[in-house]
Symmetry: C2
Subunit: 532 residues, 2 copies
């Protein structure tokens, strides 16, 4: 079998892309429960009001899992304190607007976008999946306004340096041809009675009918191009004629089909996707409006000691001088596990090994302010993503602010896809570049998709999550083997200490994973509290 030359080895991606388990009878049982069941859909814990009275919980990290914990436990009467190592609330849920500072270990950037509610950059998560039911419920509860996010725009580009003469192709053209060629080849095999298992004559006819429609074949089951990809001529005042198809060999030579042409069929990427109007951190603001918890910023944790009857959490005083300690019944820890292995603690060796097994991803993003919305004006692209085999991987066009003057474009969205041809992880490579080098290289790559790109862009901003203090990574993930041992270990508390976050889910990089991990912990704490 031919393997992808760029070796897309990232576990988080392959898990969701390729994992095919066996059919389980459970599914049919669930189907019987009614149409509204999405397998895996999960109700948030509803703890009785007052059930946590007199109990104290210290939450390390004001990311989404921490905020979820504080919200749910606070409602039940637990006294919660959130210790956040930085000034920022929300963890990787972060929206940059004019004046915001982005801090990496060796740099500080100030966002210089124009002052306009449409001009923002979601540095971390930037879309919501319809079946991420828990984050959707919080949006509803907190009245966070949502709008459609365009993930799948057929008029955006697919670009391969090695196929189609290096010219970007409209996704619509590629997808139409792909379906056409596949249908044509299968229809011809059926007409030759070349299938393994012969179909009934009725099914055979319907199968041929389906292929004709699926691929837009002609009456002889040939694929000669399709008006689904538009017309070579007017097509509005006069009868239109289909474009000729591009050669199949070009499609096969490209890297499109490794996953890019299937992208919108992936479970977490399928329409409808959504985004909060005005920026992803509207969700954080929603939590903050509804949380009853003390939040202490600039308070990095330096020690956690589990005792018989309590857990003691030591943190640097926000003043910068000295340390403080909180004594609590439970500690919910939302910080990256491998960082927690390095502070003072009395964790057991197996727990420490498990914490160290968590792997940080190297997700990297660049945003530019565009002087004008050239993707709309010149290309009829309204939202969505162009894909390229260059390092930048993706260009995102904003689905909001259509037809306004300016917009924020994501000029690179690099998630760890394994080593680039020179053997270096691409995200790592970009994170090591100087700030201006990152922007310069993103412009060079963008020019291949949109000639004149550099002239239309200004005020670039980048984030390398693996260089962000107190984070040092993104989309925390696991080796498959470690899931069976270390991950399972961390799903259980170490005495009074619990680890949460997307790191404690099979959904690294998605807020839903963080929320669901918090829900599991909250339920466990509730059990212990009420059993006591």
């Amino acid at each position: 079998m031919d393997e992808n030359p760029n070796s897309w080895t990232r576990r988080q991606f392959l898990t969701r892309l390729g994992l095919v388990g066996g059919a389980a009878p459970l599914y049919h049982a669930m189907g019987a429960l009614g149409l509204s069941v999405i397998p895996g859909a999960h109700a948030a814990p509803t703890l009785p009001a007052g059930s946590g009275k007199g109990k104290r919980v210290v939450i390390v990290g004001a990311g989404i899992a921490g905020l979820t914990s504080a919200y749910e436990l606070g409602k039940a009467g637990y006294q919660c304190t959130i210790l956040e190592a930085t000034h920022h609330i929300g963890g990787r849920n972060r929206t940059a607007r004019r004046g915001d500072k982005l801090i990496e270990v060796d740099s500080v950037q100030t966002c210089e976008f124009d002052d306009d509610p449409n001009l923002y950059f979601n540095c971390g998560p930037a879309r919501l999946s319809y079946h991420h039911t828990e984050i959707m419920k919080y949006c509803r509860q907190f009245e966070v306004q949502l709008e459609p996010y365009v993930n799948d725009n057929r008029n955006a580009f697919l670009h391969s340096s090695t196929a189609y003469g290096g010219k970007p192709q409209r996704a619509q053209d590629v997808l139409t041809d792909q379906r056409g060629y596949i249908s044509e080849l299968l229809a011809k095999a059926i007409n030759k009675n070349a299938l393994d298992q012969p179909l009934t004559s009725e099914d055979r006819d319907r199968m041929l009918g389906m292929l004709k429609s699926f691929g837009d074949l002609d009456k002889d089951f040939g694929y000669k191009g399709s008006t689904r990809a538009g017309f070579i001529d007017d097509g509005i005042l006069g009868a239109g004629h289909a474009k000729p198809p591009m050669p199949l060999a070009d499609l096969l030579k490209s890297d499109f089909w490794y996953f890019k042409t299937q992208f919108s069929y992936l479970w977490d990427q399928s329409p409808s996707m959504m985004q909060p109007t005005g920026g992803m951190d509207m969700i954080v603001k929603g939590f903050l409006r509804n949380i009853k918890a003390q939040i202490i910023r600039n308070a990095p944790v330096v020690g956690i000691v589990n005792g018989e009857k309590d857990v003691r959490v030591r943190y640097k005083d926000p003043s910068g001088k000295g340390e403080q300690e909180i004594v609590a019944d439970y500690c919910i820890n939302n910080a990256p596990g491998f960082l927690m292995a390095g502070i003072d603690h009395n964790f057991s060796p197996d727990y420490v090994s498990a914490l160290k097994a968590i792997k940080p991803g190297s997700l990297f993003k660049i945003a530019f302010q565009a002087k004008r919305r050239f993707w709309e004006e010149d290309y009829q692209i309204y939202g969505g993503i162009s894909w390229t085999d260059q390092d930048i991987l993706q260009i995102w066009y904003p689905p909001h602010g259509i037809n306004r003057k300016k917009g924020i474009v994501i000029g690179a969205y690099i998630f760890g896809l394994g080593p680039s041809p020179d053997g270096v992880d691409i995200g790592d490579k970009w994170s090591r570049m100087k700030l201006d080098e990152r922007l310069k290289n993103a412009i060079i790559a963008g020019e291949k998709i949109h000639p004149g790109y550099g002239q239309m862009m200004e005020k670039g901003l980048s984030v390398a999550w693996n260089k962000v203090p107190h984070m040092f990574g993104c989309a925390f993930d696991w080796e498959e083997e470690d899931r069976k041992t270390h991950y399972v270990r961390l799903q259980k508390p170490e005495k009074r200490h619990y680890l949460v976050g997307d790191q404690m889910s099979y959904l690294p990089g998605w807020q839903e994973g963080a929320i669901r991990s918090a829900h599991a912990v909250i339920e466990d704490i509730h059990k212990r509290t009420t059993a006591a």
Copy 2:
């Protein structure tokens, strides 16, 4: 070949769905012009300011083609008068809100939706296609705010009375299985070397790789279900397992594959689609803010006489008493052609025959106000369309107002699909029902998709365009044969009289067709004016 049992014979639909023309060298020439070319993209005429000074144009009908004509000619100094037969400006671009009256020949409905900017019903066109460049340009010029319209929601339902035990299926499940089965069958044929034309060994390997990815096949090229359709179990805190696929026979028995599974690949239906924020008539309001023309409402035209040096248009006085006449240099007529054949005129017989050849469609829509957004709360459906083989054909969920209290659902969107099993055009059938019968029948059908539907719906409203006075149809279309004769005839003026509207395009039912027809006429008038 198996034919669709419901015989989707409508020309407007088949033209866009199935028309496959030959490959033309023109396309490659256009490609050389640059990436931004969408074949057929067309610049609006830009007439020199003042070039129409002293010329008078009377425009019949304040639909989109009429408004376009008035706007463009007005900018050039032509003195334009629009005669509108009704009180409503915008033609079939019509948005119903609380208090609005919908008039049919034998009924009047008053819209009783709550008073809320989110609660509206686009009675006519309801979405914009990214490549409908001219209407998109007007939206930009008039600062009409646009937002993504969700046309393709994989979590909406496909429902067939004859397959899957009559149970609605999530589109995501059906599409995943369809791609899986097609890929599996073709991969197996390739592995048997059963293709007509053997592929090179490299292409063969890449083809197999593509199919594996396209259908999410296992390592033996079998399709056993895919996590792309979600999980049978949690899949977030634990490793997820794929749903088993539904039997291929069920897919083939359904009517999904005749076009429904291909719907979002059609040229005019592909993402991104858009809608104006707040209702489609925001476009009409945009025109009205920018038009320099006299508009006379309630002024149906009763006579048109072409003279040597002018054209005389007679209309009923809005007072209801007597008639008025306008003498103009040109008449641009936006009214349904077949209606114009019936007034006083001195048109030539071939022109009259051509006018009469235009066929009105029987597009029919029902809207309900939902007491709560059950599609979001209970089904995780955010915008998009559910399809059924019942008469109502579609249920549309609003892409706007997500998570608010109420919403407007389109409970039937029937476009003429040819005769139903009882031999009657389905749109006609519904238009003949009494108002309450229409609503009752739409509820009965909706219950099959969403049990309890009737309890959640209120304040239903319907529009049968073939019963709307001065319209008597919708999505005006042509027999293929008549396109070559009568349509071509009407593309030329009858002396000083021009016909415009979607009826004068290959895009019936789309505003872009209307606009483009007006642009062609404006250019011709400009030529005549400047040649004179």
